[in-house]
Amino acid sequence: MKARVHVTLKAGVLDPQGKAIAHALHALGFDGVRDARQGKVIELDLEDDDPEAARARIDDMCRQLLANTVIETYRIEL
């Protein structure tokens, strides 16, 4: 089965990439951009086919590797 993990910076954590993107969009004439934040999506292809078990396992993967929980939060989508 396929799963997606969305990893984003916690609110309030500085996002230099997002800041630079917003700035670059302004420079290109896209004035209407108030703010931009950048995150990651990790698409997983898993052998599991039990959503319950998969979710628990992915949660483990996130905490151990995929997200840096000090500054990031994650969301799992099955």
Partner: protein, 230 residues
């Protein structure tokens, strides 16, 4: 020879290449600010230097490719002015579509700074006329995103049109997987535009162009351009 170096916010090898240009050509290059679209019209060579333009945020070279000065660089390229993109400059040239393909994260995901061996794959360009065919040279690399990719038609065109300028190789000149520092397609380290007047390469010729720094293999590239253009 008149040269210019484009300075982006975050460029950090601009001074290094300016020193080499001044040393080789006897004339200091114009340091051209990224926001200024009007480049001098008497330029023979434009260098897009290494560094982290705009922090390399989003994608390396993506934001710099839209700088006002790049419009001027494109016009100059159309006129046949020689353009040299080193490291981040190569990334900027790909993002500007002045060169085909893209540069992705290194295979091992780590930044790599060390000397590598390169085989000179063609001397049929003003940039490498001063090297011997298949000469093995040593230059430093220092990048996080030097993993060149291109689709098959592009790869074939580069190959068929003799537009691959440097390949990573071992000290004996063999192009092997272990000599490939970053996972680059076909060990490609540098390529030419169709017009053969635009060169992009990941290694830094300006970092080994002074005997004090431990070698001069990079110097011949600048000498070649100067001899071709003056």
């Amino acid at each position: 020879m008149n040269s210019a170096v484009i300075v982006f916010p975050g460029s950090n090898c601009d001074r290094d290449v300016a020193v080499t240009l001044a040393d080789v050509t006897g004339r200091a290059p114009v340091m051209h600010w990224h926001g200024d679209p009007d480049l001098p019209d008497d330029l023979d060579l434009i260098v897009i230097p290494g560094g982290f333009s705009h922090g390399d945020y989003l994608r390396c070279g993506a934001m710099a490719a839209h700088a006002a000065a790049m419009a001027g660089v494109r016009r100059a390229a159309d006129r046949g002015v020689a353009i040299l993109g080193i490291c981040n400059g190569f990334q900027v040239l790909c993002e500007s579509h002045l060169l085909p393909g893209a540069l992705m994260r290194n295979r091992d995901l780590r930044f790599i700074c060390r000397d590598v061996h390169l085989r000179v794959e063609t001397t049929d360009t003003m940039f490498t006329a001063g090297y011997a065919p298949a000469q093995v040279i040593r230059l430093p690399i220092a990048h996080h995103d030097g993993n060149y990719v291109a689709d098959l038609p592009t790869q074939c065109a580069l190959e068929d049109e003799d537009r691959i300028v440097f390949r990573y190789c071992d000290a004996g000149g063999k192009v092997t997987e272990t000599a490939n520092p970053n996972g680059s397609l076909d060990n490609i380290a540098g390529i030419l535009s169709e017009s053969r007047t635009v060169l992009g390469l990941m290694p830094h010729p300006e970092r080994l162009a002074d005997p004090r720094l431990g070698g001069t293999d990079g110097r011949a590239l600048f000498v070649s351009v100067m001899e071709a253009l003056s």
